[in-house]
Symmetry: C2
Subunit: 252 residues, 2 copies
């Protein structure tokens, strides 16, 4: 059984359309490589009741939860206190973080900065040489910042911790075709029933110059994946097959 | 009271990191313009039980639900049957859609194409001149395709229907600064308490050449928004203020 994960993106900026969310794809790719199944993602507003109920639901249902956003020093940064509440924990000022803030800001240190040292009780700090700031873990919840560059850095640290325990990883094979999707449907139905451990996906592209549909074969057993992809490829009319080099050369 | 909305993005391709999700931002911007509060978004896998439970939860809690993805002719396209199940409805083959498919595909029409005419009982078809295919509404759930161009087209049709009933719309004012976020925090706390109808957001940019933090003032009452933004602007040191033209000229 794969381990499972979910994400909670906390941010009015996403739900009001101010920014294009960027962290989910990075997280998805990282989890895929780690062989952790990314089962669900939610986006919520900066509202305590919403964050609390989402964190609670996801942390009970999945092995890991990753949150993004709401960890800065301003009034709308309520993720840490909401995570504490969701998990039935209090908040305590973390002395290791206070010293780090004091070191960094010196005399300019304000009460707003110190808010960032208020962590859920029992929070674990995940360190890495590259980071000036630790990633924060509370039970099975990893709390990450929303700024994409910072999110990436912390995710790398967390991934290194998770990789140590990782038994398997997922692989994805792709076949590109010029066929119309509806004409592929019967064959895909058949392969989907035959290769039960392979997750087969079908994705239409309206605007790609070189192919019409991409079929993906995902899973952890490379032999079975290869067999499924090869059977699909061999049963496709030769003139409908687009070599991967050709299709992927023109991907952005 | 604003009307509320939620979205459900159905797609393994997002949670396995194969594609960058693009429909949420378009939906968010459209809802913002319509004055409908976008309260929650979820992303799930192509798994019937997950889609059913998410659609049911969201359709009970919010005024409108928008789904994206899973409406094509292949084995992984299970959105319509899952929406039917979530709402306790059966499936019926829709004759208006069958004729349209027959017209379009002629002799090439297959059973896989016809699957696309199997809609939840009582589904409403929303038409527009521009679309060759109607947008589908079942109770308060709008079912849209995942392909971004198709999503946009259908959303325009739906927005036209929703706009007719719309009483108010939201506005967003922005102020850009060179201040450090923690130093702004006390002033933002104060304004947040004073202007209760204004939603104030604070967004750090690490890599922008011209500003460090963008403060947004969102809401439906333009006078109050303007007052809040002006008070913030006037209380900021003049050398920390970045004119909007300068900040936005270098936005992508």
């Amino acid at each position: 059984m794969s381990r499972t994960a979910a994400a909670l993106i906390i941010g009015n900026e996403v739900l009001t359309g101010k920014v294009q969310e960027q962290n989910v794809q990075v997280l998805a790719q990282t989890l895929f490589e780690l062989g952790i199944e990314f089962r669900a993602c939610r986006v919520c507003l900066d509202i305590e009741a919403d964050i609390v109920s989402d964190v609670r639901a996801l942390s009970q249902k999945y092995d890991f939860v990753f949150t993004s956003g709401g960890v800065g020093p301003t009034h709308d940064d309520i993720t840490l206190s909401s995570v504490a509440k969701a998990l039935g924990r209090g908040i305590e000022r973390h002395e290791a973080i206070v010293s780090r803030l004091r070191e960094y800001h010196g005399e300019d240190l304000t009460e707003a900065h110190l808010r960032m040292a208020d962590l859920p009780q029992g929070a674990r700090l995940l360190q890495s040489g590259k980071l000036s700031w630790p990633a924060i873990q509370v039970e099975n919840v990893f709390v990450l910042p929303g700024v994409p560059k910072a999110f990436r850095w912390k995710l790398e640290t967390i991934a290194a911790h998770l990789r140590e325990d990782s038994a398997e990883s997922f692989t994805s094979l792709r076949v590109y075709t010029l066929s119309e999707e509806a004409l592929l449907a019967p064959l895909l139905d058949e392969l989907d029933a035959k290769y039960v451990d392979v997750n087969i996906g079908s994705y239409v592209r309206w605007d790609h110059p070189n192919y019409k549909v991409m079929i993906s074969f995902d899973g952890s057993e490379t032999d079975t994946l290869t067999a499924a992809a090869e059977e699909f490829r061999s049963r496709l009319p030769a003139d409908k097959l687009v070599p991967n080099e050709v299709a992927e050369a023109t991907e952005e």
